[in-house]
Amino acid sequence: MAEKQNTEKQSAFKELVLPVIVLVVICLVCSALLAVLNDITAPIIEENTQAETLAAYVSVLPEGTTTDSMTAIDGLTTANVQGAVKTANGDVAVKAAASGYSGKDVTVYVAFSADGTVSGISIDGSTQTTGIGSKVSGDSFASGFIGWNGGEVSSGSPVDSIAGATYSSNGAFNAINAAIDCYNNEIKGVQ
């Protein structure tokens, strides 16, 4: 009798407890492994992202700017602005993002020369619909902003919205306006 109960207990253990234990052990081992790998790769990934942002700043600033000659500007509070750098010559580049089509962000990097004129710009519309909204990244749209020094931008001043991509264009306009606001209110006066 006791023996029978014993085997029953054993089979219950095999049926219910063992699977759970095995699954939990596998989960724990896997998570531990990933945690270790994450510790190794996280700093490299962080470095990559930083380098990428710096490279984007360099690409809009006047030729000859290097990553070493830039200093970050901290403590910016303008909404939508994600960061800014300045160079020894008084050039400033601001990174800003605003939501475009179906809630996805359009990111812009805007460079200002010392008098507040837009001297360089790059618009990242890769989150927008390919072939339509993504045209905000195109040169024909972006280059129209260069030389602009008339305050807020909107459709028609200085560039028309892209036909069929109003949301993406507005996302770009809003992000550029955030950068301009930030430059005029927080950076220009201080320097």
Binding site: L34, S102, D105, T127, T129, G131, T166
Partner: protein, 214 residues
């Protein structure tokens, strides 16, 4: 202000169906698309089950990502946790339906076990987090969460629409007489190409219609 929210939700919803259709444009969930679309009733059932699972899965994984994974820097566990959550959820939905809504279980129960490994469900949870977690800081969790859910619902409806449409296309293709080598799957894929091309025409259209309404 309210109307801009509604406009945003409407654009997200309709562009998930027409412009960014998961099956025909983003290639997610091709397996059920090619197999199950042979029969109309199975397509409809599968599509409905996918909508339910997608919305519930996003409803669970989105807060999980924001409040657990992002908050404690555990982003690297995303894939494991999401797929496990989906697997558990599908089981839970099955049990709940069986117990409390047997009528619905009758029609959807068959499809649920097949959905765990359907890549469009894991796809929607990951893409929703990718696209909408950035705006949590900007607009607050509530709105971001709502947008993610609308996106999931739109993706599910898009899947259903693609399945139903393609089921119709297929019944015509089956009656046709293609070259010997193209019979079966190859001609199905070529007709999928043409169906997908017709969806390309919707780009820009949705946005302009919604702009005109709001």
């Amino acid at each position: 202000m309210m109307s801009t929210h509604i406009a945003t939700f409407a654009t997200i919803f309709f562009s998930m169906i027409l412009v960014n259709n998961y099956v025909l444009v983003q290639f997610l969930g091709i397996c059920p698309f090619l197999g199950v679309s042979k029969k109309l009733d199975s397509s409809a059932g599968m599509g409905a089950a996918v909508i339910v699972v997608m919305v519930i899965a996003t409803a669970v994984t989105f807060p999980l990502q924001i409040f657990l994974l992002d908050a404690y820097n555990l982003g690297y566990l995303q894939t494991i946790i999401f797929i496990l959550v989906i697997a558990v959820l599908v089981q839970l939905i099955e049990i709940t339906l069986k117990k409390y809504v047997p009528a619905l279980y009758q029609s959807l129960g068959v499809y649920l076990p097949l959905i765990t490994t359907n890549c469009c469900v894991l796809g929607v949870t990951i893409l929703a987090v990718q696209d909408y977690s950035a705006i949590v800081a900007e607009y607050g969790f509530g709105l971001a969460y709502a947008e993610a859910l609308v996106c999931a619902a739109g993706a599910g409806v898009g899947f259903l629409v693609a399945m139903l449409l393609f089921c119709g296309v297929r019944s015509r293709v089956e009656a046709a007489n293609p070259p010997e080598s193209f019979k079966g799957l190859p001609i199905t894929l070529v007709s999928a190409a043409i169906t997908s091309m017709s969806f390309m025409g919707f780009g820009g259209l949705v946005e302009n219609i919604i702009n005109a309404i709001f």
